[in-house]
């Protein structure tokens, strides 16, 4: 729409003021899409615990984060539980990965979680494997060491929230590429 000189000067005055306002760094920085992407794929150089707490505290961020995890996932397990054999805990079996839980014979309160990735990506063999687990309205981000011979494992104490999330039958698990 055409503007006259006065309107234009006023519009510019407003733009200039808004620009100055926006340049003040007295606010908490928002999590950008890069931040979420790096978190989800396990490549963030920032304090991930702190960032995950922020993601979990906001419904919008949690939704964004899960969408992203879904999009970048190597494989996704929708609450499927196959019957456990001799183990006291269920095993998750998917097309591209498998999660097993093995209780330590001696230290009974420790559980080994063994992740088998059938066709690991370069990142999974060279860096790490990140799992995003959505369990009871909360996202747990669990990082496993890099895959060797298609397998990687981590030890958890009983009752830790991460282990409970992994064992939760209704949890959705995204293994990141």
């Amino acid at each position: 729409m055409p503007m006259n000189n006065h309107e234009q000067a006023q519009a510019l005055f407003v733009a200039k003021r808004q620009y100055q306002e926006l340049s003040q760094s007295n606010v908490e920085p928002a999590l950008t899409f890069s931040d979420l992407y790096q978190l989800a794929t396990g490549t963030s150089a920032k304090d991930t615990q702190l960032l995950m707490a922020r993601v979990n505290s906001s419904v919008t961020l949690r939704r964004k984060y899960l969408n992203l995890a879904k999009q970048c996932a190597y494989d996704h397990s929708k609450a499927q539980v196959s019957a456990s054999s001799e183990l006291d805990m269920p095993t998750r079996l998917e097309n591209k990965f498998r999660l097993e839980f093995i209780r330590d014979d001696i230290a009974k309160n420790q559980v080994y979680v063994v992740l088998t990735v059938h066709f690991p990506t370069e990142n999974q063999t060279s860096s790490n494997v990140t799992l995003n687990v959505e369990s009871d309205e909360e996202i747990h981000r669990i990082v496993f060491p890099s895959v060797i011979d298609n397998k990687t494992q981590r030890i958890f104490l009983d009752n830790t929230p991460e282990l409970m999330a992994l064992c939760n039958e209704s949890a959705e698990i995204y293994v990141m590429s």
Binding site: A9, Q10, F33, T41, T43, L68
Partner: protein, 543 residues
């Protein structure tokens, strides 16, 4: 609507821009330490586009880049080429951009090819070129869009795959609408309060029959006094700080000068084009003249960052001066030197009073009875201290930058060399034109030092400044060129402040020669004391 909602940019928008600044590259196996992904300059460009609501051209350009990425960029890490390009491979620099498109691509849908200077894109039979230097700004725009509404990226992936130019165009409009909707729906850029300030200032100028060129330091004080008088008479206005009054006047003058300049440009071009000179839209206007307006008066130098890493500015006084210099660096301000000095001395006093009033009611009289810590002669000394401290920081920065980017330092040698050594200067100019790499430049300088001692003296001067500086960011030399970017940014910002400081010092010296500073200070003290007593003194009297 509350006051806070109707002022400046929303906290959410502010926080997005702050988030963009703090965004880092993803952690890689090869380099442990990460660094900022986007340059401040590019973020500021996007910020300008957003406040001017003028992002059409950039969306247009971006849609071509996205088209090229979606169609020609291999998707290694994830299914999505866009994620690969912007988030996994993180193509945000010119160098990476060139690598990314090094292999030409052709298909029925079009063609993507990197020529010597540009990325040449053909969508159907429509040709478009993007310069690799644009990747900085465009990647910030992508991050902004993705942060605001990340479904746009997913849409881009599907809409632009094998898309015709019409489909590409439609998507460009979708991005534009997405940004517009975000700003409008969230009321992220409220305008009313700023408009009021502008209108009040304009009407004061007209009531007092003042033209733009007539306004002087004395008028600014009167404007401040009158604004407070008006605020006292109105029920819902709060008192106006001296600093705010200055900003109102200077910003008003700035934008009016800019529109005048624009009008002249339009008038000149209208002779040939026959345009109606009254029809100037902000879009066209912003891209032409406002660029210089913003550049001249922008507050983009992040003083807080310069106090953190690398820590170039060390104490509060330095920060205050630096802030004032960058805040008021528009060409108009040069005639308000006295006002800026007043702000430094009495603005600080006013802040103390306000603070006192908020925390310990009734104590303002104590401050009112004690004159400000500084007078106008002390101010000169402070400017000098600052200038010396900044010079040392900048030398130390140059030492650091020289280790990874000697080409960057070449012009600095020329600037800092004594004027009589013209042979060396000519050699340096030739080296600059030679378009050398970092290693080659360093080698050439090493050899040149044998011939010209001045060069060696300069370099050892830089080293000395670095060795004597153990503040944050100066303790160790960065190990990669990447980490060095931070220091380059800081150097550029610091140089801007130092240039401004030099101008101010010169003005101060000229002014002090012609006037008795003590006399002016005494008279100002009485003006400000009476005004502050009027504004803050009553609280004490009531108790």
């Amino acid at each position: 609507m509350s006051d806070t909602e109707d002022f400046g940019g929303s906290d959410e928008l502010k926080s997005i821009f702050e988030g963009l600044k703090q965004t880092e590259f993803r952690a890689r196996q090869t380099s442990v330490s990460s660094s900022y992904k986007y340059r401040d300059k590019d973020i500021d460009t996007i910020k300008k586009l957003i406040v001017c609501r003028n992002y059409k051209d950039q969306c247009h350009e971006l849609s071509y880049l996205l088209w090229a990425v979606v169609n020609s960029y291999p998707n290694k890490q994830s299914k999505d080429s866009l994620f690969n390009f912007f988030y996994w491979d993180e193509i945000t620099t010119e160098q990476r951009f060139k690598q990314a498109f090094s292999k030409p691509w052709t298909d029925n849908a079009g063609k993507v090819e990197l020529t010597e200077k540009v990325l040449h894109i053909e969508v159907g039979n429509i040709h478009f070129d993007i310069s690799p230097s644009r990747i900085g700004v465009l990647s910030v725009l992508v991050e902004f869009i993705a942060t605001v509404d990340h479904s746009l990226l997913t849409q881009a992936q599907t809409c632009l795959f094998s898309a015709s130019d019409n489909e590409r165009k439609a998507f460009s409009n979708t991005i534009q609408r997405g940004i517009y909707k975000f700003i409008k729906d969230g009321n992220h850029l409220p305008t009313v309060q700023h408009q009021t300030r502008y209108q009040q200032t304009m009407s004061w100028l007209s009531v007092n029959n003042l033209s733009l060129d007539q306004v002087n330091d004395g008028h600014i004080i009167r404007f401040w006094q009158d604004s407070n008088q008006n605020a006292a008479e109105s029920t819902n206005a709060s008192c106006v700080k001296f600093e705010q009054a200055i900003c109102d006047v200077i910003d008003t003058l700035d934008v009016n000068y800019a529109t005048q300049a624009q009008r002249q440009v339009e008038w000149a071009s209208s002779i040939s084009t026959g345009d109606d000179i009254d029809e100037i839209d902000l879009d066209r206007y912003s891209s032409e003249v406002s660029e210089s307006l913003f550049d001249a008066c922008e507050n983009t130098i992040d003083i807080d960052q310069l106090r953190k890493n690398p820590k170039c500015i060390t104490n509060d006084k330095q920060a205050t001066i630096a802030k004032a210099l960058t805040r008021f660096s528009s060409p108009v301000t040069s005639r308000f030197f006295l006002t800026i000095m007043r702000l430094h001395v009495f603005g600080y006093w006013q802040n103390q009073l306000i603070q006192q009033q908020q925390t310990r009611k009734g104590q303002s009289a104590d401050i009112l009875n004690t004159p400000p810590q500084l007078n106008y002669i002390d101010y000169e000394q402070e400017l000098l201290d600052c200038s010396n401290a900044f010079e040392l920081s900048s030398k130390a920065l140059l030492h650091i930058i020289y280790q990874h980017n000697a080409v960057f330092v070449l012009p600095e040698f020329i600037k800092r060399l004594n004027s009589h050594n013209s042979a060396l200067k000519q050699w340096l100019y030739a080296a600059l034109d030679g378009d050398f790499t970092h290693v080659k430049t360093q080698q050439a300088i090493k050899e040149a030092q044998l011939q010209w001692r001045d060069l060696g003296t300069l370099l050892s001067d830089f080293r000395k400044a670095f060795n004597n500086n153990d503040r944050q960011g100066f303790k160790t030399l960065p190990s990669t060129e990447f980490e060095c970017y931070l220091h380059q940014g800081a150097y550029e910002a610091l140089t801007k402040i130092m240039d401004q400081l030099a101008i101010t010092q010169k003005k101060h010296a000229d002014f002090a020669q012609k006037h008795d500073l003590n006399e002016i200070f005494a008279s100002d003290l009485s003006i400000f004391t009476s005004m502050f007593t009027y504004l803050y003194g009553d609280v004490h009297a009531d108790e």
